[in-house]
Structures are given as C-alpha cells and as structure tokens.
C-alpha cells in the first residue's frame, strides 16, 4: 500500500472509530465512554468477581469484539502470527501499573480522546501527562531500552486468548449466578449498549485497528522518533469525528453528549495534578510495552501472547485498584491511589533503566 493511501486509510478508520464511539454512548454506554479499554477491562474484572465494586461490574462485549475482530481479520489476511516469550512478567507488571495510572485519570488513552471530544477539559491535563510519559519512554528507547526478543509459538498458544474471549461471551449471554453485573442505577457498569451493538462495534474497531495499526501511544512516539504523522493522524481523526458526532447528537436533542468545562464531567475528577501524573504513568508504561491498551488487545488477537499477558496485567491491576482503594472517583483521587501512582512511576522507571543497554553505545 503506498504511503499516501496508508495515511488516508488511517484517517478514514479514525473517523469511523470516532463515530462508532460516539454512537455507543447514544445506545447506552456511559457518557464519554463509547470505548475505554481500562474501564472496560476493570468492568470485566468486576464481573468475574476479582473485585467487588458494585458500580463497575459487566462483561463488556466491546473488549471481546476488539480481540476477535483483530483475530478474524489477521487470520483472513494471513497475518496471524503466534509469538511470545519477550519478558512476559515484566510486561505483566508494566500492564498492572499502566492500569493504576489509567484509573487515577479515569480512562485509558482512547477514553482520554473521547473525553476531549465530549468537552471534558480535565483531559487536557491527562494529555499533557501522557505526552510527558511518552517522551520519557522515547528517551529510554533511544538510550537502548529493549525487552527480550519474541519467538514463534504454536498456533494453539496464539489462539488461546481469542478462545478466552469466546468463553467470556458465553458467560455474558448465559449470565450464570456467579457472574456479577452492576444493578440499574449502580454506576457506569450498569450503563451499556445492547450486547449485539457493543459486540459489532468491537469487531469493526478491532478489525480497523488491526488493519491500520492504530495506536494512541504510537502516534506521538512515531512523531518524536521519526517525524512521522501517520499514526497521529488516526488519533486526531478519532477526536475530530467523535467531537462532530457528539455535537450533532446533542443538537438533535437526543441527549447531552458535549459539555465544555471541567466541573461535573461524567466519570471524571478535577484534580489536574493527578490527572497529569496518572496519564504520565500510563504513557511511560505504554511506550515501554510498545503500544497503548487498545493496541495490546489488537496484538493479542493477532496471536501475540506477550500482549495477552499485558492485558492480564491490566485486568489484575484493575482488580487491585478497586480492592485497595486506588481508583479515583468523581469526587477525586484517593490517598492510596496517589501513593500507588508514585510507586508505579518509580517501578516503571526502574524497569526502563534495568532494560537499557549501557555497556554498548549506539
């Protein structure tokens, strides 16, 4: 595919994804949360009883769809490549702390864009922190940071994570008594689009993201590393199209999808410093992982078990965040959460230094 077509493709994909994200809110998802990989993995952890916060428990079909959309397209295009073995436990720990950072801010990088598209100016502090975190990660990349190399794996190993998504889908539809779902009015976990719409949205976005390699972290990283705008163009397209769609939906009187300001934003708090530091941790960790949480889901679908381990780290991080009172709420961050974010930044920095080549110069 020629370079210009590639850029057009990613912009079109970004526009489609922004519209889908906005419509998911119209169909029932929480406001400014058409997609949020962090929030949705947190909801799944809750549904499985790994944490017991009653407001955030639901098996989100969007997540299952993202993985399976990527899986199906990569198999169809012969790009399904089972691989892994690149410092898996380090990736688990990075995933864990990326989630702690996201739940301080109340959203993954994807939701950060959607919060901006909904007029939530608190996300500007998140974006600034995110950029600083990416710059910190890029600094270590250029100094020689690298996790160990990956290896080919058997097909079954690469497909296992997608099979787990199918099992989760069965649990969602069958809804046995041991699965927890937030009760109506309990909080964001109770707000969701119908299953088939959420699943279809996930499948489409998963396929588009697999095709375009869309990544919230990769855009800024590639701009800094290579002066390459392509991935960032996708990021900007999502922001623009979700913003327009939110304004149109609000204009038609279907509800409030855009409110400019900082106070009273849905599933958000106004503490600028901790919004900044939460996303700094997320951005830093994601560069060391090689991609944002969305990208990790897409790579998992392609057969990358390192990314699957990272997603498990994100999920367990979410469970700890709610069990230990680390996650923020609309009223603001918690003291425990602040301590955890500082610990997270230190741990991620130690991982960066420890995996950076120091004896050999470039």
């Amino acid at each position: 595919m020629p370079k210009t077509h590639e850029k057009t493709g990613i912009v079109l994909a970004g526009i489609a994804i922004g519209v889908i994200a906005s419509l998911l809110v119209f169909f029932g998802n929480p406001v400014n949360m058409g997609f949020c990989i962090a929030c949705f993995l947190r909801d799944i952890s809750g549904a499985l009883g790994l944490h017991t916060a009653p407001a955030v428990q639901y098996i989100r079909p969007e997540i299952l769809g993202l993985v399976l959309g990527s899986f199906l397209l990569s198999v169809f295009r012969k790009e399904f490549m089972p691989r892994g073995g690149s410092s898996p436990l380090t990736r688990f720990v990075l995933g864990f702390f990326v989630m702690i950072g996201c739940l301080m801010f109340l959203g993954c990088p994807f939701r950060m864009i959607l919060r901006l598209a909904g007029g939530d100016l608190n996300a500007v502090f998140g974006l600034l922190g995110f950029v600083c975190g990416i710059l910190a990660g890029v600094f270590f990349l250029n100094k020689g940071y690298s996790l160990k190399r990956t290896y080919k794996l058997p097909t079954l190993e690469g497909a296992a994570f997608s099979a787990i998504q199918v099992a989760l889908l069965v649990l969602l539809v069958a809804a046995p008594a041991f699965i927890y779902f937030s009760e109506a009015g309990a909080g964001p976990g109770a707000l969701h689009a119908p299953i088939l719409i959420s699943l279809a949205a996930g499948l489409i976005v998963g396929a588009l993201a697999q095709r375009t390699r869309l990544c919230m972290v990769g855009g800024i990283r590639d701009l800094v590393l290579f002066g390459e705008w392509k991935l960032l163009a996708g990021f900007i397209a999502i922001l623009a199209s979700a913003l327009v769609c939110n304004l149109v939906l609000t204009g038609t009187g279907a509800g409030t999808f855009f409110t400019l300001g900082m106070e009273g934003q849905p599933v958000a708090h106004t503490d600028g410093l901790w919004n900044f530091l939460g996303m700094l941790l997320a951005g830093f960790g994601c560069v060391l992982l090689g991609g944002c949480p969305l990208r990790q889901l897409v790579l998992s679908g392609e057969g990358n078990t390192d990314s699957a381990i990272t997603v498990l780290g994100l999920g367990i991080g979410a469970a700890f965040a709610h069990n230990f009172g680390l996650a923020s709420s609309g009223t603001g961050p918690t003291a425990n959460g602040k301590v955890a974010v500082v610990i997270g930044i230190v741990v991620v920095a130690v991982i960066a230094v420890a995996n950076t080549v120091r004896t050999e110069k470039a």
């Binding site: 595919m1 100094k143 020689g144 590393l225 290579f226 390459e228 392509k230 991935l231 990208r295 470039a362």
Partner: protein, 81 residues
C-alpha cells in the same frame, strides 16, 4: 538495490543504521511499512550493493527483505523469528 531490515527493538535499528553508515551505506530509520508487517516497530531502509553490511546479520535483526518492483523479497529471517 534497496533493502529493509526489521528489528526486535528500536535500539537494534539505531545500531544497524550506525553499522551501515560506518560502511558508507546510506540508511534511514523509519516505521515498518504496513504492507511488510502488521507489527509497528522501527526498521532501517538502506541502499547497498550487498544485502548485508557485515559478515553476518546482527542478532537484533528480525528479517531482511529487498524492495523490488514485484514487492518485497524475503532474504533473511532470524531463527524462530
């Protein structure tokens, strides 16, 4: 002939470019082209008469292709890569 080498890490690409430059081979680091791979790391594109700028490829190299009018021709892939 134009070649593209992909790597297990960004730093592998930096080192490979330096190796090329030491041999007087024009080389640039860029994102891996989408039609070459669905992975999103760094690659080095270099113009050379020989596909390998050293007696053997450094161990950070994942794969090497030549860029031809018919597309990419695979020349090298790391063991188990």
């Amino acid at each position: 002939m134009t070649y593209i080498a992909t790597f297990y890490s960004h730093f592998g690409a930096i080192r490979f470019r330096k190796l090329c430059q030491e041999k007087g081979i024009p080389a640039e680091i860029m994102p891996v082209p989408r039609d070459l791979s669905s992975s999103c790391g760094s690659c080095v594109r270099y113009e050379s008469t020989l596909p390998c700028p050293a007696p053997q490829y450094p161990e950070e190299v994942e794969q090497v292709v030549s860029v031809t009018s018919q597309g990419y021709q695979s020349l090298y892939r790391a063991e188990n890569g």
